[in-house]
Amino acid sequence: MIYQVSPIAIVIFLIFVASVLGLSFFFARKAKSASGYYAAGGQIHWAVNGIAFAGDYLSAASFLGICGMIAFYGYDGFLYSIGYLAGWVVALFVVAEPLKRMGKYTFADALDAKFNSRGIKLTAAISTLVVSIFYLIPQMVGAGALVTPLLGLPHWVGVLIVGSVVILIVATAGMTSTTYVQFIKGALLICFSLAIVIFLLNKGLKKTPNDDYHRFITLPVTVAGGTVTEVADGTYRIAGQHQEKGLTFVKLEKAGIPSWWKLTADESAPALEETLSIVVEKSGETLYNGAPKEARKFFQVGHLSKIVVDGKEVEATGPVGPFEYIKRIEDAEIVRFSKTAFSFRGEAVTLYHQTPTSGKEIMKPGLYYKLDKGSTFWSRLDFLSLMLALFLGTSALPHILIRYYTVPSQRAARKSTIVAIASIGFFYILTLYMGTGAMINGCLDVQDSNMSAPLLAKTFGITLFSIISAIAFATILGTVSGLIVAASGAVAHDLMDKYLKIEMTEKAKVRAGRLAAVAVGIVAIVLGIIFEGQNVNFLVGLAFAIAASANLPAIFMLLFWKKTTARGIAWAISVGMVASLAIILLSPTMFEIYGLPPAQAPIPLRNPGIISIPLGFITLIAASLLTKKKRTQES
């Protein structure tokens, strides 16, 4: 997709980045000690910290990924909203206060508070580093996706800008700065998302999303023996036909311009439906709807084909309330765009064809995670695995855990979490509206689901688009800052200071943390460029699964099982981390990325949690019992 760059978007973006940097430098003066750098001196107000939690948590995955997934797959994207929010219940009821009592600066500190074990220090630090880096990748990928329509820059430039700015922020300021940046950004994100939803409800549902929306045409044809033999419109010439996944696609030419069409299923009145096509020709040139990218013939899509009000079909509903909006979507028919790719006479053809889908199907689970039609035992298990990892992953994310140490008391930690639940929960409710809004308002970029929410904002004016894109960019800046603080804490504080026992002054510790932040930032930039085009939500799900498998068994059992030993914790972290990583690397999704048939994947699960989380718990129990016995025998 080619986007038109707006000067106002650039100005607002630059103002935002300048403000974020200014704020960071202002608070940098407060970070003179290790306590100030890693935990903001433990003196952040609970309300500020609560919104900062939301700022940390509502990352690229939430704003860009979830809205995009809902826009492409309906309710299945909303499952992530439900699961991510439910995870906070575990954090509030089980983890928040005990961790606040036990910890100091990092997740490893909290785990090690009871045992003072080098094994725990090492494994917890590595786990923090791995989870943080896996969480950093989607943020960087999201940044790259955002700069294309916002500034007209290539993906890698976006990644580089975010990486550099964040390194500057974190290397100069630390946790105080990131907290206030997250607070402002979290609050703005929620306010402006609400604004989008208000605009959306005020507009209501319309069959023609806007005056510029592409009018899809249908060509009556003659079919003989499954082959299209003639097009009623004589200006088109049939140039070829291809069968793929039970569908028939026809290549036509008009005035020398090629186009691809899908044969309708209606045998009594056969016709060809227009598709969006990307064709890589033998010469290597890529054509978008039969023309080079610069010709801007590749348009945005997503519309309603049927709206029903009181049993009658209408063209538009007019303004609707939040419940009426959902009901109208359920009763409507929405045209989604399904992707089919194949080779045709040496050309690589990718088509996005119209798939009318009932609103009832869209507003319940099943379009992405197969639970009903076409479901298998493994697809249902995959759904269970996802919901388990989302539920248990939140309270095991290191960059969320370190935020408990920035407030002065257990009570403040608890109140912070409640503010976070309220604000994050409210935002997640908005995601369902923004996602479905993008689905029906002709703003989808079929190549990149991540841009659905910002592009929906664009339909309500360039100013709103610029502001929301700048906030999304700041969201990424903030989340990446928090992650880099957590990762640099793992390297400088847990590994260098506590595991390797390198003697350092307070000042040297802060310097080590900042150097580690620069190193982690550079790794994140490189990975962000390598993973271009990957699904942001999938990558975040990966981080959640690793966190839930490696960290949660250790935290949970340390708090609630007295027989837990240091070795049990170290083994559980190691096994949980390695198992979840191995299952992910052997999953059908990764096989697709490797270019291998997904059916050949040895483990037919996309989400590893259902195997790796119980494995982490079992390992901890077994290792604890074994090492306890050994110790008793020795004594």
């Binding site: 929010l85 319940k364 759904f383 639940i421």
Partner: protein, 93 residues
């Protein structure tokens, strides 16, 4: 100096009660959440059943889970604050 908490936490006599309450509320929420997952896995068609105001079970259950988290959070905080005030006699900030 590296093994204590980042800030001094005063003695808290209410910990056992808060922990117990937290676990009970966690289990209640987990059961409600598990119910959502169970219906999705075993009776996926039921998720599309319209329940009230023309809204289906998937929407109402999903929104319900989000709202329930907030409501239970407020109840938990209220109860914990009461325990702390009662058992610590104003020790805690």
């Amino acid at each position: 100096m590296l093994h204590g908490p980042a800030v001094e936490i005063g003695k808290d006599e209410s910990i056992p009660k808060k922990t117990r309450l937290g676990l009970i509320m966690f289990i209640i929420y987990m059961i409600v959440y598990a119910g959502f997952v169970f219906i999705g896995m075993t009776f996926p068609k039921a998720m599309g059943t319209q329940i009230i105001l023309g809204l289906n079970l998937a929407f109402l259950y999903g929104m319900g889970l989000i709202l329930l988290a907030g409501i239970m959070g407020l109840v938990y905080n209220h109860a914990c604050t009461r325990y702390e005030n009662k058992l610590n006699q104003g020790d805690q900030k």
